[in-house]
């Protein structure tokens, strides 16, 4: 129980840090979104002060002391109010995010799962059969791991999309057939087909790290006494590999999930740009390019909270599968 509380406490602090950074960064550095909005819709005459005041209220700008603003900000976030998007004015930021988020969540979720299962599986076999051809693949994984996500995306798009024409070149679904997302078999099929190449990108770039980490842990776990013991008992090699060696060797991989998720999310942003994929990364870059500060900050907040939430889940899971972490400290 203490373990759970400690983990939840840590992620609460991390979430608070993300929220606070999100609050402070714009206020420390640049002017307010109202000026921006006005410069965008600027007519020939300067806007009347009342209009400006009304906008300021809408965007939550005030001359209050910083701490008053801060608490106002925290309150509105707790109510799920992230402000209004400037480019899609007056659509709330939360609505824009709600449209984009499912695309990214599903894409990243599925492809990350494939990556982990394949990577850990191949790593297990590579460590177990050291010196065979599959272990010989390991050095090449360093190359694969160092490829920037979006560049791999460009290459795949060029080879499999442009040249061979096997996959569609952009968007999350066939925009010529469907007016918008709908719940039908044809639409899901189209979305799946369009998501295949982005998913392949994530799997190919991510798999190397998992494979390498797992392979190295397998090698060191196999030298442990309990594995030798299991072999001496005459258990089948398969059982020794899976239930004795791999089971223990996988722990650091699970613990390393937190950091790798950050990389996947970062890579995902650029990948979405390459594919014009209608996810959260695409929305973020659109917001940045059109100086839509409320939207940009809302997206940063959501990405951070999603990453923190996923990490919390994995950490709790880790406590479940490795009892030692629950006792320590």
């Amino acid at each position: 129980m203490r373990f759970v509380l400690r983990k939840v406490g840590f992620y609460a602090i991390a979430a608070w840090a993300a929220v606070t950074l999100n609050f402070l960064i714009p206020r420390l550095i640049k002017g307010n979104p109202v000026d921006l909005f006005l410069s965008r819709v600027q007519a020939t005459s300067p806007p009347p002060p009342e209009y400006r005041r009304a906008l300021e209220l809408q965007f939550g700008i005030s001359d209050d002391p910083l701490w008053v603003q801060y608490f106002g900000y925290l309150t509105s976030i707790l109510h799920g109010n992230l402000g209004l998007s400037i480019t899609n004015y007056p659509v709330p930021v939360s609505t824009v995010i709600a449209q984009a988020l499912p695309w990214t969540l599903v894409l990243v979720g599925i492809s990350l799962m494939i990556t982990v299962v394949l990577g850990v599986g191949l790593g297990t076999i590579a460590g177990w059969r050291r010196g065979t051809w599959i272990d010989g693949l390991i050095p090449s994984t360093t190359f694969l791991a160092a490829i920037p996500y979006f560049w791999l995306a460009l290459i795949l798009l060029y080879l499999l999309g442009s040249t061979l024409g096997w996959f569609p070149l952009n968007f999350g679904y066939d925009v010529s057939k469907f007016a918008g997302p709908e719940f039908s078999g044809a639409f899901l099929g189209s979305a799946f087909y369009h998501g295949a190449l982005p998913a392949l990108t994530i799997v190919l770039s991510g798999i190397a790290g998992w494979m390498l980490g797992m392979r190295n842990m397998m090698v060191s776990t196999m030298a442990e006494d309990y594995v030798v013991m299991a072999e001496a008992k005459g258990l089948s090699p398969r059982r020794v590999m899976v239930s004795y060696a791999a089971r223990n060797a996988v722990l650091p991989s699970v613990a390393g999930f937190a950091i790798s998720l950050g990389f996947v999310v970062s890579g995902q942003i650029a990948t979405e740009i390459v594919f014009n994929y209608p996810g959260i990364g695409y929305a973020l870059i659109q917001a940045v390019n059109s100086a839509d500060y409320p939207l940009m900050q809302g997206i940063f907040l959501i990405i951070s909270l999603a990453v923190l939430g996923a990490n919390l889940l994995v950490d709790l899971l880790y406590g479940l599968i490795d009892p030692r972490t629950r006792q320590a400290g």
Partner: protein, 293 residues
Amino acid sequence: MTAVLATPTAPAADAEPHARQRRSGKLMAGLGIAGAFLLIAVVGPILSADPEALSYDQLQGPSAAHWLGTTNTGQDVAAQLMSATRGSLWIGVLVGVFATAVSLLVGVVGGYLGGWLDETFSLVSNVFLVLPGLPLVILITDYTDTKGIMMIAAIIAVTAWAGPARVLRAQTLSLRHRDYVDAARVSGEPGWRIVVFEILPNLAPIIAAQFVFAVLGGVLIEVGLAFLGLAGGASGSWGGMLYFALSASALPRGAWWWFVPPGLFCALLGTGLALINFAIDERVNPRLRKETS
């Protein structure tokens, strides 16, 4: 970006009889690749043509005159690649220096002194470790007006110091109560002297490994940032080249000579740096590594 970065402390367990020869092989290959890039970065731009010079050979494939073809405005891709290599490497080294400096302060000083300072440092670095890097960098760069190379490097370093700091702290904790450190303390050496002359030398291989990772991380994040057109718009790096290639629709026009080389260089550099790190990792005392949490 790269998952290799995610496992900087992954034990490289090798109990093979010929391990020693393989180690040096990895190190040699890694140093060779990194050295080649350094050479390109230093000498390349001097020898090659002006990367900005326009010409009428627009979007030409590789030829004797232009080894890697030309861009849509007739610029020589090979010349651009040379100067982009310099830009990318430079930003990587800057990020490496900044991030290592901060991680030394936070990890080593915090780890050595302990107490509430260490608790705070460790909490802050754990928080920065789980915050997604690229979105944070995007947020900060967008709110920053000056986008010089130093500024970009400093912003990237904000997201790159936490991992090294955690590794260094773990190692410092395990060194802190070694006999020779206790002996130094009993003999009345001041704290800073113990840190600098007793602890740092023993951390050197790990610091080197963390520096290499920070350089690679810096290169990759900047490439991503520049590719998104957020690094000030200069084509001074591999990412910038890719940004211009993509916006000039090099992809549908089949100008592979334009967008393949920058990414390939990036991946090659990454391979070289990762190889160096594996070699360092395998040399570091495994007993130390066991105490890493």
